[in-house]
């Protein structure tokens, strides 16, 4: 079953008299368990696509189904609930709450949970941080963490609700190359565990760690193809000289790479 299905989606921005089309009829389908990169230069429409996929914005026309939910018909509050339940956001600028501990940051989505589920939000948040290798940084505030660590906190926050889809918008844009590879290794590890991940990026290096690449230009999908030769970030890390500066275990260390099957194509 597809996690994302959009049919002929358009988005037109109005500025005064002018109508500026940002998307001009996009079709896209993403199956569960995929790891997909959306590429494009600035102004290509990829951010607009990302906002629509993230239920932050509504298409001007066309249909959007997210995990079987017809998004077009939802109101503001229902969109908020959908983002809370089904989506995990990861941003370029990390977007953590300042002066708020890692634990409290990760706990945040649980506070807005209206599904009525009973949960121990502290324990769940601690688990999520454990999962991204920050089990020993629970009480640190963002200013005490490195960029890579901050992004891991953001990933933990995105994971804590067990969403159907992780949406990462330029997740490595503010990180140095080594940390970028570390973050991509973490994404690959999570993907191996079955989580669907969509990465928006303009760097082909980063896209190379995904299993499928979609290129957007001028509001249209230019190219949509599987990555022929998937790069494993964990392997790349080993070839990079410097030891990881992170206190936690090296990302990807737990993955049995020898047993991995060759990259699967897109459906």
């Amino acid at each position: 079953m597809s996690v994302i299905r959009i049919d002929n989606v358009t988005k037109v921005y109005r500025s005064g008299q002018n109508e500026v089309p940002a998307l001009r009829g996009v079709d896209l389908s993403v199956a569960a368990g995929e790891m997909l990169a959306i590429m494009g230069a600035s102004g290509s429409g990829k951010s607009t696509l990302m906002n629509i996929l993230g239920c932050l914005d509504m298409p001007t026309s066309g249909q959007y189904h997210l995990d079987g939910v017809h998004v077009n018909q939802l109101g503001r509050n229902q969109l908020a609930d959908l983002r809370n339940q089904k989506l995990g956001f990861i941003f370029q600028g990390f977007n953590l709450l300042a002066r708020t501990s890692a634990l409290e940051n990760v706990e945040l989505p649980l506070l807005y949970d209206r599904s009525g589920r009973q949960h121990d939000s502290r324990a769940l948040a601690a688990q999520a941080l454990e999962r991204v290798g920050l089990g020993n940084r629970l009480d640190h505030v963002p200013s005490e963490l490195s960029g890579g660590q901050q992004q891991r906190v953001a990933i933990a926050r995105a994971l804590v609700m067990q969403p159907t889809l992780l949406l990462a918008d330029e997740p490595t844009g503010n990180l140095d190359s080594r940390t970028s590879v570390e973050i991509m290794a973490l994404f690959q590890e999570l993907n191996d565990q079955g989580i669907t991940i969509l990465v928006v990026t303009h760097e082909s290096d980063i896209a190379a760690y995904c299993r499928r690449t979609v290129e957007v230009r001028d509001g249209l999908i230019l190219r949509d193809e599987p990555v022929v030769q998937l790069r494993r970030a964990a392997r790349d890390l080993r070839t990079l000289a410097a030891p990881p500066p992170v206190g936690g275990p090296a990302p990807g260390a737990a993955i049995g790479e020898a047993t991995r099957s060759p990259p699967a194509g897109s459906p």
């Binding site: 993230g54 932050l56 509050n77 809370n84 977007n95 953590l96 409290e104 989505p109 506070l111 807005y112």
Partner: protein, 405 residues
């Protein structure tokens, strides 16, 4: 979202900006403290006046002459005095609700004796006057029923008069002259102090009304008839009874207006405390302005805070906060700030009122309702001035909020 979670989120973000929170609170703290101190001063003044009115006597009914009208122009109370000693005697004979009745015949005269002379008020009264006004002899004895019946020339000196004529305290048994008539001092009255308006209640001499009427010239009319009832519950009925008896005595027809006025103690208290009440309202009103200014301070800070935290609002919305969640968060923040400020202001106000009373010697009285009022008002200020900024926050577009630098 759970209520406890909301409060937790709000308290978290308040604690993250301690300095700003304190400064914002300061406005409310000062406002609430000012209101409480002012109310305490006003209440203190009012209850002091009430105490002084009560000092006049217990369950008092007062009859004073009515006013006359000349061609539609009211001449003021006492211009047409038809109250007589007979009215008082009729009340005493026929009234059923009275514990005591006394006419009061008033004049001013020079009192000569002892160390010199003293101009003062001469009151001609019956023995029941002392009972009505709850007045005892500090020295000597009150004049008796026999003195009144026999029109004897005996006099009770007020404390002020006694000390100025007989500074050695040997007034009892001495002679004084009032309008050239010699009187024997029967006793000295206990000190009563000042009235609410500052008049000295002890600057007076008291003689039997019979004596005043027959021996002293110019004592024809009765300025006042004082009566007291057995219980406070009888006052209204007693006022009616006085009215009908005096109307009868004055032979007034059904169409005639009263030519006298009947009042009770609470009427007097009302009149006297009216001014103070206006004054204390005024003080409280001025103080509430500072509460208002404090509220505007909160609104100002909350607006700044919304702008400053635009990105935070975007993040919260992206991870699933509804507009209403954001609205409530900011609203709870401003209410928590203002209620906390209100509580601090309350403590400060109580302390301030006590300190002011201690320094100035004014009686201050902090009404217990002030607690509710202060907390209620500051919460209302928080909601009122917090709502607009909170709505601004809730209406933000998540995409733009996330992009905000």
């Amino acid at each position: 979202m759970k209520r406890s979670t909301l409060v937790r989120i709000a308290v978290q973000s308040i604690l993250k900006n301690k300095m700003r929170t304190l400064l914002t609170m300061l406005g409310i703290v000062i406002g609430v403290a000012a209101v409480i101190v002012m109310v305490a001063v006003g209440q203190g003044a009012q209850s002091r006046i009430e105490e002084q009115i009560n000092n006049l006597g217990t369950n008092l009914v007062i009859v004073t002459p009515g006013s006359s009208q000349a061609g539609g122009v009211s001449q003021g109370a006492g211009t047409f005095n038809r109250l007589t000693v007979e009215d008082a005697e009729k009340l005493e004979r026929e009234g059923t609700l009275f514990a005591a009745v006394s006419p009061v015949i008033v004049s001013r005269a020079q009192v000569i004796g002892g160390q010199g002379n003293w101009r003062t008020m001469i009151n001609g009264v019956s023995t029941e006057y002392f009972c009505i006004r709850d007045w005892q002899a500090a020295d000597g004895a009150l004049f008796s029923e026999a003195d009144v019946r026999g029109m004897r020339k005996v006099v009770m000196l007020g404390h002020t008069v006694a000390t100025s004529l007989f500074p050695d305290g040997d007034a009892v048994g001495q002679q004084v002259q009032i309008r050239s008539v010699p009187f024997k001092v029967a006793g000295v009255l206990s000190a009563k102090g000042q009235t609410a308006s500052g008049a000295d209640q002890d600057d007076v001499v008291v003689v039997p009304y019979t004596t005043a009427r027959s021996r002293l010239s110019g004592f024809a009319r009765v300025q006042q008839i004082l009566a007291s009832t057995y219980s406070p519950g009888d006052i209204a009925a007693a006022q009616e009874e006085v009215r009908s008896l005096i109307r009868e005595s004055h032979r007034l027809g059904d169409d005639d207006d009263d030519d006298f006025t009947v009042r009770n103690q609470s009427d007097l208290a009302e009149a006297a405390s009216g001014t103070t009440r206006v004054m204390s309202w005024l003080l409280a009103a001025i103080a509430s302005i500072s509460l208002l200014v404090g509220g505007i301070g909160i609104m100002n800070i909350m607006l700044v805070s919304v702008t400053e935290r635009t990105r935070e609002i975007g993040i919260r919305m992206a991870i699933g906060a509804r507009g209403s969640d954001v609205l409530t968060q900011f609203l709870v923040e401003s209410v928590v700030i203002s209620v906390l400020g209100g509580l601090i202001g309350l403590a400060l106000g109580f302390g301030g009122a006590a300190l002011l009373g201690h320094i100035t010697g004014w009686s201050t009285e902090t009404p217990p309702q002030a607690v509710l009022i202060a907390v209620g008002f500051s919460a209302a200020v928080g909601v009122f001035f917090g709502f607009y900024p909170a709505r601004q926050a809730a209406a933000l577009d998540p995409i733009q909020a996330l992009r905000y630098e």
